[in-house]
């Protein structure tokens, strides 16, 4: 009887601990930070990619229609399927692709200001997935993280703070158990990312001997400044490599205690700012900063006076949204006007391969 009651007490305490950890009511502010931050990064990405949009996604782009499946099995979720469907009612490829781009940008803007948040997240996720599938060979880590985070936003109550949905009374008031639960999933997902990234880096010699840092700063595709002087101070890239291993592998442990959380968060943010500045991977750096700040940097407990802050944040987001919309439309119109989407079809060329030198 005693054993059974002890076991029951233990079970009850475990259940309470799990309940507090996963469902203690929390503000949706961190989720709103993720929503707005991710939308801002993806809008910036859309503006950057706009000049080459048709090169990547059109059947007359870099990869012409017959070879567009060379890099992956594209399945039904690719833009070709959509273009084919619209061609049956006489729509050309370019207007359909332009329509997709406009829908994507509008969905991201709605996410930015939190208007119809779940629907906007679902549309942005689906279009992002289609864009990734269509031009699979051009994608990289940024796209993968964006897809994961957009997928999270579909079911998270990210419109419950700093949003027009909240202002219009369409979103539940925070704090809520679902906001805490969503935040925990986000946090654990980020811990998995860093643990695996840290371990896989530690499995090669380059991050231990400093070569990885040397290469990331000196390879022409990443080189932003002349870091050749590091060759005379090899201890510096070596120390930086060890620091990266420590920050990433230690993240799942040291991000949780209050004592070390700020240090680890600051270190992770500094790491990604470094990647953005010194490797020129601006948007990849930005999305990881957003992921970190939303997961562990934004307060999940509302502070006094937050209602005023919220109003101002909302106004700021609305203004930012309007500016970004104007800039996006301008960039798209300019790109469309300047774009000469021509190519010479594969069938109109001959190709002779030369043997590669040993």
């Amino acid at each position: 009887v005693n054993l059974s009651s002890s076991a029951q007490r233990l079970l009850g305490r475990t259940r309470d601990a799990v309940d507090r950890f996963a469902f203690a009511p929390a503000s949706a502010a961190p989720l709103a930070a993720l929503r707005a931050g991710l939308a801002a990064v993806l809008l910036a990405q859309a503006a950057s990619v706009a000049p080459a949009f048709l090169d990547f996604y059109s059947s007359r782009g870099i990869l012409q229609d017959p070879v567009r499946g060379a890099f992956s099995d594209r399945g039904p979720l690719c833009l070709t399927w959509l273009v084919d469907a619209f061609s049956r009612i006489g729509a050309g490829e370019t207007p359909v692709l332009a329509g997709v781009a406009i829908v994507y940008v509008l969905a991201l803007l709605a996410l930015l200001v939190g208007l119809g948040t779940r629907a906007a997240a679902a549309i942005a996720w689906l279009v992002h997935l289609m864009l990734m599938t269509t031009a699979h060979g051009t994608t990289y880590g940024l796209d993968q993280f964006a897809l994961t985070l957009l997928f999270h936003l579909v079911w998270m109550p990210a419109g419950a703070a700093f949003s027009l949905d909240r202002r219009l009374g369409r979103a539940p008031a925070d704090p809520s158990p679902m906001a805490r639960f969503a935040l925990r999933v986000l946090q654990l997902n980020l811990c998995i990312v860093y643990l695996i990234s840290g371990i896989s880096k530690a499995m090669g010699p380059q991050w231990w001997n400093g070569d990885a840092v040397w290469r990331s700063l000196m390879l022409p595709e990443f080189e932003q400044l002349d870091f050749s002087w590091l060759a005379n101070h090899p201890w510096a890239p070596k120390a930086a490599g060890w620091a990266v291993l420590l920050v990433e592998s230690g993240y799942p442990i040291f991000i949780w205690p209050r004592l070390t959380r700020r240090i680890w968060l600051a270190a992770a943010v500094a790491l990604h700012l470094g990647i953005a500045l010194f490797m020129g991977l601006h948007l990849f750096g930005a999305i990881m900063v957003v992921f970190n700040v939303a997961a562990f940097g934004a307060p999940a407990t509302p502070a006094p006076g937050s209602a005023v802050a919220r109003r101002w944040a909302l106004r700021l987001l609305a203004s930012l949204g309007a500016i970004v919309l104007a800039a996006e439309l301008l960039a798209m119109v300019r790109a469309a006007a300047e774009k000469d989407n021509t190519t010479v079809p594969i069938t109109d060329v001959t190709l002779v391969e030369r043997p590669s030198p040993e």
Binding site: S48, A70, F71, S200, K201, G204, L219, T343
Partner: protein
């Protein structure tokens, strides 16, 4: 509009879903193969849709040089110029273009030739009078810090090379040759 309290039953269901989702993310990170059973394919597809199939091993375990392609254009008037698929419109667009060459080098032979022809097609369209282009995919051979101190400097390794010409130009020159033959 306040959110209703969650029952413990619903909380348990949510915890189960979250555990499964994070399990797929962890398995994706470890590059776990879900196999070809219906359930395995369904989980793998969920990983693709949710983005949790990523190995997260960016810049790991090593940082490899990203291949890059140049196109040496024979302009047809005796001049030779060098062009690239990257247009310099934005760092992001150029990075994405450059991303194509790493998987290009891994393509099977059946794919590599038409993909190279397709890429060259973009260049030939920019140079309508060109007689042809030589496409070179190359990677930077960066010396180690120790070798750099000893005087070694970065160089380029050519990993793929092909000559591509517009069929019309090839036909024209064949015709000219034929006519010139006694």
């Amino acid at each position: 509009m306040a959110e209703k309290e969650l029952s413990w039953r619903r909380k348990r269901a949510l915890l189960g879903v979250a555990a499964a989702h994070l399990g797929v993310a962890a398995a994706g990170g470890l590059m776990f193969d879900w196999g070809s059973t219906t359930a395995g394919r369904a989980i793998a597809y969920y990983g693709e849709l949710s983005g949790t199939n990523s190995p997260y091993s960016f810049f790991a375990p090593e940082i490899d040089a990203m291949p890059w392609a140049t196109f040496e254009v024979n302009e047809g008037d005796g001049r030779t110029t060098t062009d690239t698929l990257e247009t310099g419109a934005s760092r992001e667009a150029d990075l994405r273009t450059r991303n194509l060459f790493s998987p290009f080098l891994q393509l099977e032979e059946g794919w590599q030739r038409p993909v190279a022809a397709s890429m060259a097609g973009k260049i030939l369209a920019r140079h309508p009078d060109a007689e042809g282009v030589v496409m070179r995919v190359k990677s930077c051979a960066l010396p180690t810090m120790e070798d750099y101190r000893k005087g070694a400097r970065p160089g380029w390794l050519i990993e793929y090379e092909a000559e591509i010409a517009p069929r019309a130009k090839v036909d024209d020159s064949a015709q000219e040759e034929k006519e010139g033959t006694p």
